[in-house]
Symmetry: C2
Subunit: 350 residues, 2 copies
DNA sequence: TCCTTAATAGACACCGGTGTCAAAAACAAG
DNA sequence: CTTGTTTTTGACACCGGTGTCTATTAAGGA
């Protein structure tokens, strides 16, 4: 029996080769490929055999051209956390695995002046069906407007814009942060520091709101001196650590708006002989690899980024995707984050 | 003056629209797009004006079809270090930024039985010009054979196969590891532990050879009890830490074959009250984000991953890329790693 | 058996570009 | 003003698929 290995490797067989060998028209082969019902079982089998024999794979470029649509989705990101990006990407790939879709990944330079122009050129060239926007650029309205004007649909991650149903996926960050901080309070912490994320980021605001909820719930007031401004990078974490840990009445616990800043705070603590968690409890956010690499391992909040990737893909292009039991309603736009307890939290001393 | 904003957004203009508006044939427009010299300056200008006016962007799918080649390269990876993958990816994107090429990223599951079959399907479908192979799968010869048999050229990263000139890029890891360990010896360390990378990985072998070079250079012998087997994951680092640090005559320094394992060793040390670097010096490899997130910050080896990405892209598809001053000879396949000194190394006590 | 209707298959144009080769235009020389 | 030569341009087929519409075949009813 002839197999793929036998044919010359110089050229991929085309639909014409299949048609000729099967003794049918190329349109018939096309029908088989696209699982059209307008075809007899006998013919279908015959053609399928030839396809298998030849190892025929339809040329996606030609299909894209003929369908007047190309089976491409893009992932636009400027997230500094590589693991987050890759996990999300894997989630998307999980979802599109058995489809005809392909994923193009595009990092975006948020600070560049011509960011928008670059993205426009990219989108005009690739003409993807849709775009997935990871935070923080998912919060950029210019970008979503651009998508809209180019006829590229989009799904934003982490931006609970209630006025855009079906176009965003978010997690219950506020709630989980509240829970995590409540935990601190239950352990007896009363002076709790907070390292804020960068201004203007919805993610930062959500986390801060969760923190405030917890304080309010316990009848505590938020004091400005226990708050430090950060930018999600480790250096801002060490700065925050210096500020908060040099207070005469220093906090016994600190919530940092992401793991990296939490690591910075921890470095300052350990560098100054403040033991964690005995003298200082620390909680981060993201559950990045860092959280388990530092010592003591960091209690943090994990958002279901891979699942979000799969959901986002379904929300974006459900009609091209095979149905998945777990992901029944693409409308469902909220996934649950979880509080991961590790070794960086304990009851305060004395 | 009419601009792109004026035209209806429903449909991208095609080469026919340009041709009609400019009063020339589509072939002439094609010549302008492809910068053919067989065209008069006057016509070129006229067509270019219309292109700008219409905001015309050639359809890459149609070009791919007509050129019988699609302008795609793929990145195949199964590297556990997300930052590495993303940095490399960015290097590639740097290189192809002003070209017609697009990059498709494909994670590969090394442990899956049908890994090879999955990749074959992927490559047969996408038919990329070439593939970039990141370690560790860059060491998989089945994969490179597959590429070869499909007519997909490839460049392997981190595998200095001297019998494959022009097909791999590597760094001088062995040399730099030797230098890093020599540094330990110069500080006075005599009992130096080694956490080995997983069996069968060239990267692991290179690092071990560098370690051996350093010992040999100082007239020290390698003792089996000071060696622990790891698999590049943090848990194997903690296991190694337990083994090495529970020795009656424990090492005063440990070289771990990657940062993650180094973090594991450090956790065991700190958990057992062994201070770093006073009582134990630690060196890692990769300069991952982890290296600066742990405390004390880790001395490590940085390999120029982003630059390697750019170089690899040039080596793979130089004819499609605009020339870059820094990257003159794609033949040059060795990039320099550097030893990054931070706070995890000091002279041994007493 | 013949006619009607439904199911199946094929012919042909088309998607938006490029290659080939011949036609038209521009220029030089006789 | 012709003619020969070189540029410049265009007509047309083609890349590998799909949409539309018609032709063929099979099945059912009179």
């Amino acid at each position: 029996m002839p197999t793929r290995a036998n044919r010359p490797k110089t050229k991929q067989p085309t639909i014409n080769d299949v048609a000729a060998l099967a003794g049918v028209s190329k349109k018939t082969v096309s029908r088989v490929i696209n699982e059209s019902p307008l075809i007899s079982e006998k013919t279908r089998e015959k053609v399928k055999t030839v396809i298998a024999e030849l190892g025929f794979v339809p040329n996606p470029q030609a299909r894209a051209l003929a369908f007047r649509r190309n089976f491409l989705i893009v992932l636009l990101h400027d997230n500094p956390n590589a693991q987050t990006v890759l996990n999300f990407q894997n989630g998307v790939l999980d979802a599109i695995k058995d489809s005809d879709l392909a994923l193009l990944v595009r990092p975006v330079d948020r600070d560049s002046d011509d960011m928008l122009e670059n993205v426009r050129v990219f989108l005009e060239k690739q003409r993807p069906i849709g775009a997935l926007l990871l935070p923080p650029i998912s919060e950029n309205d210019d970008l979503t407007e651009l998508c809209q004007s180019l006829g590229v649909r989009y799904v934003r991650i982490g931006s609970a814009e209630l006025d855009e149903p079906g176009k965003c996926i978010s997690s219950n960050d506020r709630e989980v942060v509240e829970k995590a901080c409540r935990k601190l309070i239950e352990l007896g912490h009363r002076r709790i520091g907070f390292v804020r994320g960068p201004q203007g980021f919805r993610s930062a605001r959500e986390r801060e709101l969760g923190f405030q909820d917890a304080l309010r719930g316990a009848g505590l007031t938020m004091s400005e001196e226990l708050i430090a401004q950060g930018n999600y990078r480790i250096d801002s974490g060490t700065e925050a650590g210096h500020k908060l840990l040099s207070l005469k009445d220093r906090p016994t616990a600190i919530f940092a708006s992401n793991d990296e800043m939490a690591a910075g705070v921890m470095q300052v603590a350990l560098g100054n002989g403040i033991s964690v968690p005995e003298q200082l409890s620390i909680i981060g956010f993201d559950d990045s690899p860092t959280a388990t690499h530092i010592w003591p391992r960091l209690s943090t909040v994990r958002w279901p980024i891979r699942e979000m990737g799969a959901h986002a893909a379904h929300m974006l292009v459900s009609e091209f995707l095979p149905p998945v039991p777990g992901i029944s309603e693409p409308e469902y736009a909220m996934l649950a984050s979880t509080f991961v307890e590790r070794q960086s939290v304990a009851a305060p001393e004395k």
